[in-house]
Symmetry: C2
């Protein structure tokens, strides 16, 4: 069926603060239509479990029942190696874009990938997009760009299903873990990158990098957008970055 | 945005006996996201207008309000020149298939196109698919192929929006009409083809073409599937076909 397609692990779908259970259920159904299995949900507005999500999932109740719930994005992406943030309209963020119809051109092979979708009424905030490696955009009529979440999930999942071969058994791919110290090719997870950002931002605060408190938020976002664009950042490389911070701050304190 | 795309007229979306107003509304929203404007509905189960369709259409209420309602498929496709029938699973029908992700490879330029979607629970019947020139199939996981209608509309409309340039003013394209007798390139409409089928089937009945009454339905379907596969059938050519029937039957009666 799929010609010259690359083998990939099934990407994880992350819904950020979804408001309506119906949309969560419909998203699960669309995922299952196109071979996706894992859903994560950050702070669903109406709590969890949600009977409307159950009923709208139709035959995809297994995805709803296995969905993992998180309080915040940082926890939800802790083990993710490559994160897409979906947007309908272009944002003025210094981050690479890929359109859904050519998603396969950017899709990282052999990485643990997640795709993040925002709220029904306002999508993802720029700060949330800042966590992502890349923006995934569904091209729409500019006069009416507000996509239903489940429609967006369907469109993106359909593109993946058609242009990439999803591995049914992600465990077949050799994962990181204990080898991380010796193998320079093991990729950093998003959790490790977050730990790096915490380290970096706390040091920047100590050193009063940002003079204006009202610009602090903007500053951290810009920095996130720089580092998250590093392609295939390995654990070793991240360790190096952290070492640089440690080193620089040590010298500064001397 | 779209590279090397062909100019097309915006295809018409036809929903056949949709059951839930919510799905009609959500389909209208997905259409508008991807630049489609005209919806036709054949025998909506819960009548028309439908307040649930209105509320689920969100910003696409104009599409709902302008939707045309028909009692049957024949009337709904009367002016259509090329008709796609969507299916999720493969059917044993002798008709050409195109997958949604390569829809643009088959899309007829400068023709009045409609795309027909079936009921929530059982899709289109084989008889209904018989009206179409081609089957449009959305590739899904074979273990879970039942797509929500609005998701199917979103996926198909997204492919069209990305791979074809929709003309905002269909009237800019020179249409048939009075020139049909002199210009052999003017295409036959589905209504004219239907008139041809009526002519043909009535003559076949007169001539007891089908010996077994229980096979009659099957016979007409097979014949439809033959003629609807004729690419770009012009009015003149259809006139020729009708002339053949008239001629053959006249000789037979002598």
């Amino acid at each position: 069926m799929v010609q010259n397609a690359e083998l990939i692990m099934s990407p994880i779908i992350i819904l950020v603060e979804p408001q309506m259970g119906e949309n969560i259920g419909a998203s699960a159904r669309a995922m299952k239509n196109f071979g996706l299995v894992e859903m994560r949900i950050v702070s669903p507005r109406d709590g969890w479990p949600n009977s409307k999500a159950d009923s709208m999932s139709v035959g995809a109740l297994d995805i709803i029942q296995n969905a993992k719930i998180y309080d915040n994005i940082v926890d939800a992406i802790e083990d993710i190696e490559f994160l897409y943030a979906t947007t309908a309209v272009e944002r003025s963020i210094n981050k690479n874009y890929v359109m859904a119809d050519i998603l396969h051109s950017s899709y990282p092979i052999n990485q643990k990938v997640a795709i993040m979708f925002g709220r029904e009424n306002c999508g993802l905030t720029n700060a949330e997009i800042g966590y992502a490696n890349m923006i995934l955009s569904v091209r729409t009529d500019p006069n009416f760009s507000s996509l239903n979440i489940a429609h967006a999930v369907a469109v993106v999942a359909h593109e993946i299903f058609n242009n990439l071969c999803i591995l049914s058994t992600p465990d077949n791919i050799k994962r990181g873990g204990d080898e991380s110290h010796t193998n320079p090719q093991i990729l950093a997870t998003r959790g490790e990158l977050e730990y790096f950002f915490e380290h970096l931002f706390s040091e920047l605060d100590v050193h009063k990098f940002c003079k204006l408190p009202e610009k602090h938020h903007h500053m951290t976002q810009n920095i996130r957008n720089i580092f998250t664009r590093i392609d295939r950042l390995s654990k070793n490389e991240l360790q190096t970055l952290r070492g640089i911070i440690t080193s620089l701050t040590r010298r500064n304190n001397n």
